[in-house]
Amino acid sequence: MWYSKQVTETHPLALKYPKSVTDISEVIVAEGGRNINCIERVINLDIVETERCSGSSADELKTMDIAVGVCHGALNEIVLCELRLRYKSAKQLKYSEIDGKLRHSKELCGQLTCIHRNFFFVFQDRIVQQAKAKLRRLNKNKSTWLAISSKELKTIIFS
């Protein structure tokens, strides 16, 4: 899997809500993390949701934080990531909240681009291992909810 600027910037959400396309480092810093010195573009789903609902009566729904276009083999996919960099412990993770966010994010991203099978949750280094264990427990031991550090995010998706 490798990052694709083209898949990201040509995604219908990026085209419809251009303000939502921003540098990954900016989002990470805004969410309480350290600058990872990465200027690759991602779709900020919080901005998408705010813009989608502005001027309408629709309620804003909770979503994952960012959507990133990647190439995975021959496929173009969207990777959904949640930034939990302000969390001080893994105990704050709730199944219903994560499940709801994933559902709304998938609906938002639509059917045109495949959603990557793994979902990434980014934590501070000092609680990543506890979060890994907690997410596995919450997801009935399936391996598709992955806790990673922001450094690992850079390695897995952007390098």
């Binding site: 105990k91 506890q130 031991n141």
Partner: protein, 439 residues
Amino acid sequence: MDKSYKLQLKINDIRAIKEANIALDGITVITGENGCGKSTISHLTYTLLKTIIDYDEIVEDGVKEIYKNIYLTLGRVLLSLNLPDRRESHNQYRSLFRNYNKNSIKAGNKLLLGAIDFTIQQLIRDKSSNSIMDPKSERIEMMIVGLLKDQKAYTIGNISELLVELKLYLNEILINANSQKDELSLDVLYDVLDEEFHDKPLPKTFSITEYGTQLIDIKENIITPFFSVENVVYIDTPMVLGLPIEEERQHWSDLSQLLETKRTSLNKDIGFSNDIQNGILNGDAIYSDENLADNTFIYKRDDGSVFDLVECATGIKSFSILLMLYKNGLLNDKTLLIIDEPEAHLHPQWVVEYARLIVKMNKQFGVTFLIASHHPDMISAIKYISQKEKIDDKLHFYLAERYGKTYNYNYRHLGTDIEDIFKSFNIAYERMDQYGDTE
């Protein structure tokens, strides 16, 4: 200078442990893979503390064991004599001296000296017994020589002389015991360790300090008594509750005794009992000695049903042990409670309840804990509940880490940071992904 903890145990090169420097001050949790020496730390800590706390009793028990042998052997000698009133003589012996082990070892010594004199008098009455020609004389002499310390040094020839030697030996035993009690000799501890760790001699590479002061001085061969701990309890499995105890597991029989013996200073606060009885067990656990022929641990459920605890679920036993320790006045600031894998046999919900009680016992009663655990929920529950209860300044996690490619482990102090413990636990998920379809 190192921080001074209530107690601190240092171990080097004992079994799988390469180096461990464990603080016992608040709640200490040691973790690591199987075979890293966690149970050795628990067992060694228990044996060291228990021996030092019960030092006088252990010395006296050793003496009483010798007394018992002397009393029984003299009885056999009397029954071997050619006396017309042999039975009466033996009955008189029993009625005069049978209380040899009921009081102090000094009083026992006095009684047994009288028992030897009594035996000498009976020998005089049996004219044949001191004759070299009498084959039974040799047998009696061998019995008495068997009692003496250096058996090879005595030549068989005169029973009365041997009995005088026995009197001297008896006095020597008392003097040595009193001297051991005065000096607090490490030899007593070494003897206990040899019995407890009998597979091979335990290296003398351990030490224990109390607020920074060395309590075991190997160079000077002396022990200094503790003041911060008066009771030490070791629970390595709740399965032992109510079972007949094998003698080679001293800590099982010690635990059983603690559960059966009510103290005068019972805990009067019923809040903790209620917590376990109503919130967890839905009933009460008691030791019943109503029927002396059938003493037993009983679980009385709140619907009126009564069960022998031996037959109950192991989780019920785990909490029952805590409840009975509390009711017997053993949960206080002078107690060190050592528990190996408290999570064993517990439903995940009860793992968290058990962790909550550990924190509560520390916060409310000041009990010091040494816990060995493998369980992510036990580890995280102890951490986060302690944090909420604001006692995490006295929380110490340790992780056993393999030393190079050897099978030896160093114990790293993590403070309250459990991240590396979880890193080691998470290897299980990698294995699950490797062997199973988890996507």
